[in-house]
Each structure stands twice: as C-alpha cells, then as structure tokens.
Symmetry: C2
Subunit: 638 residues, 2 copies
Amino acid sequence: MPAPAFRMRSFGLTNVTVQDAFWSARLAANREATLPIEYQQCRKTGRLKAWKLGWKPGKGKPPHIFWDSDAAKWIEACGYSLAVHPDRKLERLVDRVIDDIAAAQQADGYLNIYFTAVEPEGRWTNLRDRHELYCAGHLMEAAVAYYQATGKRKLLDVLCRYADHIDETFGRGKGKKRGYPGHEEIELALVKLYHATDEPRYLRLAKYFVDERGRQPHYYTREAKARGDDPMKYWPGTYEYNQSHLPVREQSAVVGHAVRAFYLYAGMADVAAETGDAELLAACKRLWADATERKMYLTGGVGPSGRNEGFTRTFDLPNETAYAETCAAIALVFFAHRMTEIEADARYADVMERALHNGTISGVSADGKRFFYTNPLTAAPPETYSHIRPGEPFRREWFGCACCPPNIARMIAEFPQYVCSAARSAAYVHLYVASEARAEIAGRNVTLTQQTDYPWDGAVRITVSTDRPGVFALMLRIPGWCRKHTLKVNGKRTAARVTKGYAKLRRTWADGDVVELSLDMPIERIAAHPSVLEDVGKVALQRGPIVYCLEQCDHAADVLTVHLPDRAKLTARFDPKLLGGVTVIEGEGLVPSPAGWAGKLYRPAKELKLQPTRIRAVPYCLWDNRTPGAMTVWLPRR
Amino acid sequence: MPAPAFRMRSFGLTNVTVQDAFWSARLAANREATLPIEYQQCRKTGRLKAWKLGWKPGKGKPPHIFWDSDAAKWIEACGYSLAVHPDRKLERLVDRVIDDIAAAQQADGYLNIYFTAVEPEGRWTNLRDRHELYCAGHLMEAAVAYYQATGKRKLLDVLCRYADHIDETFGRGKGKKRGYPGHEEIELALVKLYHATDEPRYLRLAKYFVDERGRQPHYYTREAKARGDDPMKYWPGTYEYNQSHLPVREQSAVVGHAVRAFYLYAGMADVAAETGDAELLAACKRLWADATERKMYLTGGVGPSGRNEGFTRTFDLPNETAYAETCAAIALVFFAHRMTEIEADARYADVMERALHNGTISGVSADGKRFFYTNPLTAAPPETYSHIRPGEPFRREWFGCACCPPNIARMIAEFPQYVCSAARSAAYVHLYVASEARAEIAGRNVTLTQQTDYPWDGAVRITVSTDRPGVFALMLRIPGWCRKHTLKVNGKRTAARVTKGYAKLRRTWADGDVVELSLDMPIERIAAHPSVLEDVGKVALQRGPIVYCLEQCDHAADVLTVHLPDRAKLTARFDPKLLGGVTVIEGEGLVPSPAGWAGKLYRPAKELKLQPTRIRAVPYCLWDNRTPGAMTVWLPRR
C-alpha cells in the first residue's frame, strides 16, 4: 500500500471567484448580515469583553468555558471573508478583538478566558470536560485564517506561543502530561498552523494528540482521580462520547458526540496524509463508511440524538427529533474534503456536496440573520411545542451555546476553496458553480471558468484559459446522483473514462477550449435503507444535489399528512420570485379526506379516503425562511 | 336536564364467576404469582418495614413519599382476590401488614409513613407535590376492599379515623386548610368509603376536593409561599400538570399527568352521580370526548409523554416513545366504568373493553411475574437501547417507582365486577366472557350464564336462570367494533332495538330461556385519524376487541420493515399452544429486499423492491412474553 498523501490541494480560497446565484447570495448574506450580527451578539453577551479577564467572584455569571471559541470562529470567518472581499471597517473590528486576545495571553503563553479569569488553579486538570484544547484549536484556525487574509502576524504569533506552551505541556517526554482534548479540534488546527509556519513540531503535536487518544491506562481516568473525582461518574457513561474508548487506529464505528467525532476524523485524515500513515488512513476509511453508509441523514446531517449530541445506533435516523447539529454537518464537510483530496474519489465529494447543499446551509436563514442549531427532517406545527414537548425547531437569533452560528459563517466564507483542487498534472472540479478558478497546473497558469445554473440545472460549460497550451487532465466529478451524462470538448461529443467518479479529459489544453458537461437532473424519489425505521414506506424528493421538503406555508392541507403516489407526475419549475429564486417541485399528492372523522379517532382503514392535493416541494436548505410551520422531507408512499 | 345518577350498579365482584380461558388465566396468575411476588418485593424493598416508622437520620435512604400506596394497592388487590378465592395464608399476611399500618396511625388519626417518620414538621405543607392525600385515598380503597372481602373492620376503622382527621383539616370551615390533593385519587376513594360506612361526610369531603380544585386565589401558590418557596418554580411550569389550572367544572381539555387526570375524572363522575350534579357530569362528558376522540392510543393507552407522564397536545400519539403508563389505562377503565353506569351508553363500555383487553393487561406478563410501566406501540430491538437511547421497553420484575404492578393486580382482581350491571328492571351485559353472573333484577334472583369463546369468537350464548318468571330487559352491548350481529331468543331470530349501543330484549324471562348473540368478528384494518402524524399511511390490525401486533420472534424478516398490502388476505386461526391459546392473524406482508443495499444508505425508490413475507400477528396485550424483540402495532400500507 503506498503511503497516503494529499493527491491534490485546493485551488485556494482567493483563487476561486464565485459568480453564481445560489452561493453568491449565501456569501453576500454571510458578509453583510451574519458577520456583523455575530459581532454584536458576541459583544452583547459578554463574549468579547470576557477577553479583558475582568470577571471577579460576585460579578455575575462567569464566562463560559468555550466562549473563546465563539470569538475565534468569528475571526476565522472574517479572515476568509476579508481574503476575498476586503472591508476596512470589519478588519478594524477584528484587530481590536485580537488586541484583547493578545493582551489576555499569559507570560508562559497560556491563553484561555475561563482558566485565567475564573479558575486559574484548574488549568489542564480536566481535559475531558473543559474544552481548553478545543478553544486553543479554534484560536489557531482563526490566527491562520486572519494571517493569510491580511498578512497580519499578531494573532498568529500569539497562537504560536500558545502552541509552543501546549507542546511543552503535553506529550510523551519526561514531565509532560499524557493528555489529549476531550473535545477534538486542535488536531486539524495544529496541521493548519504547521502549514502556515512550517514548524514541524506542530504537526508532531497533532500526531501525538491523535495517537495518544484512547490508550490505556486511560488518561481521563487518571486525570479524574488526580482531581479527586470518581472516574466512573462521567455523565455519558462511556468514553465513546469523546471517541477515546479505543486508540483511534482501532476504531471502526462512528460513536459519541458528532462534532467531536468528525473534527477528530478530519484531524486523523490530515495527520495520515501529512505523515504517510496508511494504517491511520485505513481507520479514516472505515469510519467514513460507517458514517455515510449507516449513520447519515439524506441532508448530510449527522448525530441523531440530542442526549449526547451524537450517535446512538446503526440506522437510527429519526426525523422529527433529529439533532443533526449544524456544526456536525460542517465537520463532516471538513472530513469529506480531506478524504476527497487524499483519495481522489468522488464518493467523498458526493457527501461533501450533499452536506454543503442541504444540512449545513440549512443552519442559517437566507438573509443570514437567524440560525438553526438542530436540523430535523420533520417539524410539527409551532403551536404543538411546549415545555412538555420542547425542541421547537424554528430559527433563532442566537443560542446560549452559540457554536453553530460562527461555524456556519466560517464554512460559507470558505466555500470557494471546496470547488476545485490542483494535482501536479490535473485539475479536479469537485463542485459545479458559476465561477472563475485559477491555479498552476503542469506549470501552466490555468483558469477554469464555469458557466452554469447549477444546482438548478445540470448543464455546465467550462472554458479553459491558459497562458500557453499544456498537457494535463481535467477531472470532472460525475455526481453520484447523476445516472446519465454527456461530455463535449469544443462542441464534439467525447467519451471520457470515469475513474473513481471523475471523468478524465487528458489532452493538450489550449486557451479558450470549451468543455460542455451535461448532467441529467431528473426529480428522484429516494428511499432510505430498509433498516432506517422512520423512513419505512416513505420517499423523499431529490433533484441534483438538492433535497426537497414540503413546508406548511405552501399548502392548504396539513403537509404532515401528505402521501405521494408512486405514479404521481412531478414537475420541476424555476420560480425566480421564491426564496431568492429556486427550482420547486410540483405535482399532485394525496391527503386524507376529513369526511367522517368527526368525533372519531380510529376507523376501519377502508373508510379512510384519500383525496388529491397540489403539492409544492422547496429546497430543504431554505426551509423556515417564511412563516414558521410544519415541514417534512419524507412522505408516505401510495 | 334530569339530575344524573348511576342508572345501574355492578352485579358486584362476588356475584360474577368468571369461567373462561382468557380472563381466568389472568385471575389465576394474578392470585398465584403476582400477589405473592408483590408482597416479596414490598418486603425486600423496605416498603412493608417502613410502616414500623423506624427510619432515623443516617439510617440510609428514607422511605419514599408514596410507598404507602404500594402496600395499599396490594392490600386492595388481595381483598378482591380473597373475596372470590379465600386463602387463609394470604389473609394472614395481609392482617400482619394491617397491624403495622394500624400501629403507625397517630393519636390524631394521621397516617403516613414519610411525614411521620421522616419529616413530621412537613405534614400538609406541600399538597402539590408530596402525595399525602393520594396515599390516604389508596389506603381507603384498600380498607373498603378488605372489609368487604373479609368482614374485618380493623383497617376500615383506621381509615375512617384518618378520613375524619382529613375532614377536620380540610374544607371551607373556619381554621381549615382550603387544600386539595396534588395527585388526585382520594376523591373516588372517599366515595367508596362513604358507601362502605354510610357516612355522608365522606361524600361531602370528596365533593369539596373536587370543587375546590383550581379555584383562585390558587391554593398551591399560597401554599408554596407559606413554605417560603417560589410558586413560579413549579417544575412542570403549569398547574395543568395536576389539573388545577381551572376549576374542574370549567375544564374541557384533558391535560397534564395522565393518572392524576383520570383518577380525578372518575372521582368527578362519582360525585356528579351521587349528588345529582348535571354541571359536573357535563364536564366529565367533555373531558371524555377529548380523551377518547383525540388523545387515546388504539390500545386504550393514554398519556403519550414521559416528560410529564401525561398529555402534550391533541393527536400527539407517538408509538415508540409512547408513555401510556399502565396506571393511566387502568384509571381510564375506572372512569369509563363509572360513565357507563351513569349514562347507560355503550360507547363508554367500548372504551372500557378496549383498555381492558389491550393497554391495561399488557402491563403484566401472562405468568403474572413481570411488568410494564410504559406500554409503547412500537419497540426497537433490545440491542438498540442504551444509556444514550434509554427507554428499553421490555418487561421488568419491579420498578423503583412501583405504582403499576399493584395497580394492575387490583384491576385484574376486580375484573368480574365490570361484566354486568343491574338496573331496577334491566340487566346490562357490558362484557362478553364465559361466566355466571347473579343479581336481583325486578325482584327476581336472576343468573346470567354466558357460554362463549370471546374474545376469540363472537358467538355468545346466555342462559337466563330465575327463581320465578319476571319482566325485565336484558340489555346486551353491541360492541362499537361490530358491524353486524344477530340475536335469537330460544332459537328464534329476534330483532331488538339497539339504544345507545345496547340491544334491548324486554320480555317475561323464564328460567332456562336462552339468548344467542352472534357478533360478526372479522379482521379489521384500522386507520387512525389523519391528524395522528405517527400513523399516517399506516394500518393496525384489530379483531373483536383485540388489537394485534407483530413480534420479532414470529418473523424472520425485520418486523419493523413489514408493509401490509391493502389486498393481502389475512386469516384468523386459533392456536391452542401459543401464549396459552390465542387467535393469531396470518397472511402475507411485504418487506424490502436486501438486494442492492450493500454499502448504500439511500437509493432511488424505484430500486427498492418489496418481497413477500409471511406475517403472524399476536394480541398486543401478550407481547414480550417470549424472546424480547422488536414489536409494532402500526404497519405501513401498500
């Protein structure tokens, strides 16, 4: 088995200019609404002021142990946004927050609000529960993003000092703690810091955190005893919760807290590729298979249970109570992107596309102003929720635990980097989106200009621009959802071999060459694996990468009672006025007739009559942007 | 509107001898297994010893605030059992427990383990939460049952003294507390005590508790303040939890904790009938309609949510997470029986029959040894439950909160009294069961002997025996599930008018007259009201009063994936060897073919092939008597 490595790297954020309607609108809302709102919310809730370390006993509630990460993700998102869209005013705001963060750093490099201002004696005594290394990781990601966007080193230097301190504190060396994060994240962050600084210690530290995890004697057991706590009194009852139940190389099942899991797997993939570790990569592939073949919602959401914000059992994918945290789907995208670039296999990019177009961006409203923490696939009417039946799944302006809003902001801001990757003599197109993407391929400066109405239409025209003709392969992803495609080069039908999901067009490319890819994009009725109990007897609608749902506001009948006949004709229609312009799916469903039900709760089934009703399905990612109401993705078949 | 009253009264427990297979087996298991087991469990867990009032600080966990009621319900059950089946050994056991209870009574008549042994200063300070009056009520029911069974007055006298004490403590008189129970139960118990003693004060006290409930200024608010507690910090967030959000006469919606609700409604019905209170009866009828037309499982289970052990919203009837506490279905039977006797309307008896044959007796295993607290309509495979996904719905030997086991014991023991009721010149047959039932009707000693294989067969032969011929009406319930019936008297087809669900046969009855009732009992596919979201697109199987389910142990295919085609032929077959002899329903269902699913979680629905599979449905009330496994009542239609 050859040592794994990244077979390609992203064209890079600043080298891809998105010019479409779908993603451009998201990027604009993110920049114009989400980032300012998040700044205000962080300010209003004390998250920014907390960096002043001014909390004293008696001064109200102490800052929360992971407030650091909220500011960090906001800075990271600002970094990506500033990289493609300079904004002096925003940059000044960020600089001021960075000044406070830098001032909060201790003489030894340590940097954490809670454990400096509130409980200094508790530093590094509870890695299992207290998020110190998690916060450190997010700050590192912020520092790298902001440095790459602005060239400003201040935060990067602060985080290097902090990383050095962490490196001196943790590891296998004498006198070091053998700990690792209870909430993974720092692993992938350290790999970013390594790339930004060329400091190999950071990669080694990432590898240490990955490899130390789950070893016996178990660090969290020893750590709990050292605190005087009973290690058995760990609330989730199992180290599966944070994936430390086994050394990571021995893991095959996706378990525990979903965000932790996928941050870890992304970090494992990074370390595997950077260090050429085939065994570690094999674990990543096993975990990938378990996640995507048994534990993922149609939307790319992951982690069905609110109880552990994570996984329960194989094929447990309840719709209404789906937790499917926005952060978890984002973490899945991170993992998928890394696996795509390591494996050059479109099945990873298929999942990335699925999560990007559905279960991640559902997490923020179209106007960028309101958020989902959980992303259920069924919602009951608002009036049916109460303190007895909590979990009202409608958009909110903020959360006490506000991890998701800044996370979706950074994911959207960095979206352009997911579009294309460059290998030595190949350009990979993973995502179809009207855009201009620039990279050096086979020594040529190449620009790929996509013209397309994707995701509403499967026709993609790619114009190749190059400073001089050159031989390289254009690798075009044929999405897993597509059953028929055609390819033309300069107007001539071309048969390209599809290898691991990519159609390979290797030739001498000259400036102005045009590739026309046509992806057949019918409306599909999708069935879930028969073991997904909630979806037995049901279908969902998907067209291209877009998963659809029925919202109450488009229907007179109760959408939760709509049946879809197998033979019902369904039509796709672009509606330029709806939700900023979307393709809707329309047709005739069936709903129970109310006749004869007065005063009756149960009747012979033969008395239940179904009557036709017009249905209109809209993209799931845009639900709850109008009047809050019932919603469902899965419809009973008739 | 005429003043309400009971239009009939039960033939009485000792006047009905059950001789069938279905109920006799339950009565025997109850007597031979359940009652001894419950005694042992109460002993083992300290529930009996607690009556010695020996708890002292530092002596381990104090007795629980409602342990009194566990012993009380066991005594009550023993009373009913002893009444029809004398057992000196059992009687001696009960006598000894009664000695301890009597010795625990305080000089002023007060009687409660917790508030005597543990927190005497807390007596009557927290009616809202602490179950004192609830425990008192259960002890009263026990006292009456045991007195009626054995003629022994000891416990009855103790409870009269306690009732007197409660009467002196609560009421509208000067210096009295204006309180009422946080957990209703004492209302119906006081009416029983009134009948056993002819003491009208007990009826008046019951009426006071009913009428005082929910008045403003709210007693629980004042009581909380008096304790120094914040009344707003009531965990359920609403007085709906214990039905004190409104005066009961103004209530129309079934809300809150389900057992509390139906004990209250039963008490309201008692008071309405005993006092001729039409307004109160109207409230009972409104609440009945809300319960049975919008909030009841097909099994007669009630209260969908574990969060409040009760009601959430209209039509919220989830199957897998159904709480449907055994006690709540029992309480519904109590309410239904009272309404049947007040209204002489079979729709009340229909629900009584439904709950009796399904959602109540599901609560105890066929051998009488293991119990359900909750009665879901779907169970996932045992291995899929964990601390992350709790609620494993399989039978257990006991519960920390053990209200259900002695409750089902008392209900089964008193089952014979639900069969027939006597009016002045009419005998009502509510339930069909092979039995001999004796009563005085129109001055005659009448015996009704039912020969039938009900609930497996709809043919019922009733022989009337009488000491001398007399004119009276035989009122035979035509069950709501029955769409066709025929009647013969002495071999001759007779057309009887069906009034409020009872076929009326009024004639001069002579000794040896024979009535043959034939109730058409086909297999029915039942649909739920379209607003019951969990059951959209699904059907359940019912035959006669019996609701069926599919259990994993009868199937090779995953039962949770079985679809039922509308056209599938279903056959009923009596299997004498299965589960003590039951009628099973057999036929051909469809299950998804596993072909093509390897490594796939979602596929185009047209690729999902269904393949035939033999199905066998068994009575829901007998599920989980074999190998624990998945179970479902509702099946997707095809």
